[in-house]
């Protein structure tokens, strides 16, 4: 599933040929605009991604008022930062605390808050994660190097509807006095899915 990019000199695979053939056909029939394809891919390569989510989390860490707004009215708070759209029109933010850790999965397909996090990683869409996350979340997190003690409740959120879930990780210790922009670097995509905690300052570049 996660093969490396092919050597440029290697012959194209069957699926590559089939995909190219279908794209040509759809363009020829006028159903797909080649420029729109390129524009969409360009957006995903360069602009869309977890950075929107990172900004939301960092602001909540930095600003207690925004955090309360985000938890009480996530759609309003997120829209105030300019992020809306596909499958993100209804978002619920799940706050990690000393007592509760949250983890998001979509057992039936791959639902995910695209406007905030971009496209989901391969492992999130894979059978092993979808199968195990609801039955053994602590076991799944161990595969990411995360250990959640038995005294902390683990809540798994199965995205079966058009509601989209974003985990608000705990602000790590050691970043006291950091500003919002600095805090963003501690917010990993994985911590907003819930398979990891946010990074600690020691493990990232000093801002």
């Amino acid at each position: 599933m996660t093969k490396d990019h092919q050597d440029d000199t290697a012959p194209p695979s069957d699926i590559e040929l089939s995909v190219k053939a279908l794209e040509s056909l759809l363009v020829e029939k006028g159903l797909v605009d080649q420029e729109a394809v390129d524009a969409l891919l360009e957006l995903h390569e360069n602009e869309i991604g977890p950075s929107n989510g990172r900004r939301v989390v960092a602001r909540a860490w930095a600003d207690g008022g925004f955090k309360r707004w985000l938890l009480d009215d996530p759609n309003g708070a997120i829209a105030s930062m300019g992020y809306v759209g596909s499958q993100g029109d209804q978002v619920r933010v799940l706050e990690n605390t000393d007592d509760v850790h949250n983890l998001v999965v979509c057992t039936l397909c791959s639902c995910y808050p695209w406007p905030l996090l971009g496209l989901p990683p391969v492992w999130y869409k894979s059978a092993p994660y979808r199968a195990q996350a609801v039955a053994d979340p602590r076991g799944v997190m161990r595969q990411f190097g995360s250990e959640i003690g038995d005294n902390r409740e683990v809540r798994v959120w199965d995205s079966t509807s058009e509601m989209r879930y974003l985990v608000l990780p705990q602000r790590p210790p050691g970043a006291e006095g950091w500003c919002e922009e600095e805090l963003r670097d501690l917010v990993t995509r994985n911590s907003m899915i819930g398979v990891e905690e946010a990074q600690r300052p020691a493990t990232t570049q000093t801002p």
Binding site: T2, I15, E16, K29, G30, D89, S126, D150, W157, M163
Partner: protein, 223 residues
């Protein structure tokens, strides 16, 4: 449908294999991006809805669904939907050459680059008027009904028959079981909390819970 896509609680698929987050590309192969873009742009023609797309994927032959990578599933379902909707003929798929015309009404909806740039995601809302008052309020005990519909459903097998508690009422959303057949109706949507032990038995961690979004038609009051 009780299909192989309904993976919650399945075993034997091996470990999760995360790539380091910093090294993961948006697409691992160029063709994956092209498939993604085609699915999004053809989806923008609004000839089918999201539940129809999901059902097209989950009703692929089970051996294909399990063996295919993620975008292979998307590609196979797209080809199926293109033919079933009449947008593309079997013959065109085989030869790769267009031999039938598309109606002007559809061509007018084809998405252009500037539209994509202005609105990279669809902004479809799934809220719909409720058919009546909500039956449940947060705190109510409910049982996920033991249903086994042949068509599309968003009630995973692993919750069926089990008792949980209403965590939240999300208002009324499109009911997916009917939506996959093209009937778009609202139904009250709830988030239901299940103790892990209610779902998985005594061997589950006592301090875990699973929250699942379930429509009112999936639920019945529990004592």
């Amino acid at each position: 449908m009780n299909g192989v896509h309904d993976l919650g609680g399945m075993q034997g698929f091996g470990p999760v294999r995360p790539e380091p987050e910093s090294e993961e590309p948006v697409f691992h192969e160029e063709w994956e991006g092209r498939v993604y873009a085609m699915v999004r742009l053809i989806g923008g023609l609004a000839l089918w809805n999201l539940d129809m797309v999901r059902h097209a994927r989950e009703s692929l032959p089970p051996a294909d669904y399990i063996a295919y990578s993620y975008y292979e599933i998307w590609f196979a379902a797209l080809r199926k939907q293109l033919v079933e909707s009449g947008l593309v003929t079997e013959d065109e798929l085989r030869t790769g050459r267009a031999s039938s015309a598309v109606s002007g009404a559809i061509l007018e909806r084809v998405m252009r680059a500037e539209q994509v740039r202005a609105k990279p995601f669809m902004t479809t809302s799934y809220r719909r008027p409720a058919p009546g008052p909500a039956r449940f309020v947060p705190g109510d005990r409910v049982r996920a009904r033991n249903r086994h519909p042949r068509g599309h459903t968003r009630e995973p097998r692993y919750v069926r028959g089990h008792v949980g508690t209403i965590d939240a009422h999300y208002g009324s959303q499109v009911f997916p079981d009917l939506s996959a057949d093209g009937v778009v109706e609202g139904c009250h949507l709830y988030c239901v909390r299940f103790a892990a032990r209610a779902l998985w038995g005594e061997s589950a961690n006592v301090n875990s819970a699973v929250y699942v979004d379930l429509w009112e038609d999936y639920l019945e009051a529990a004592p």
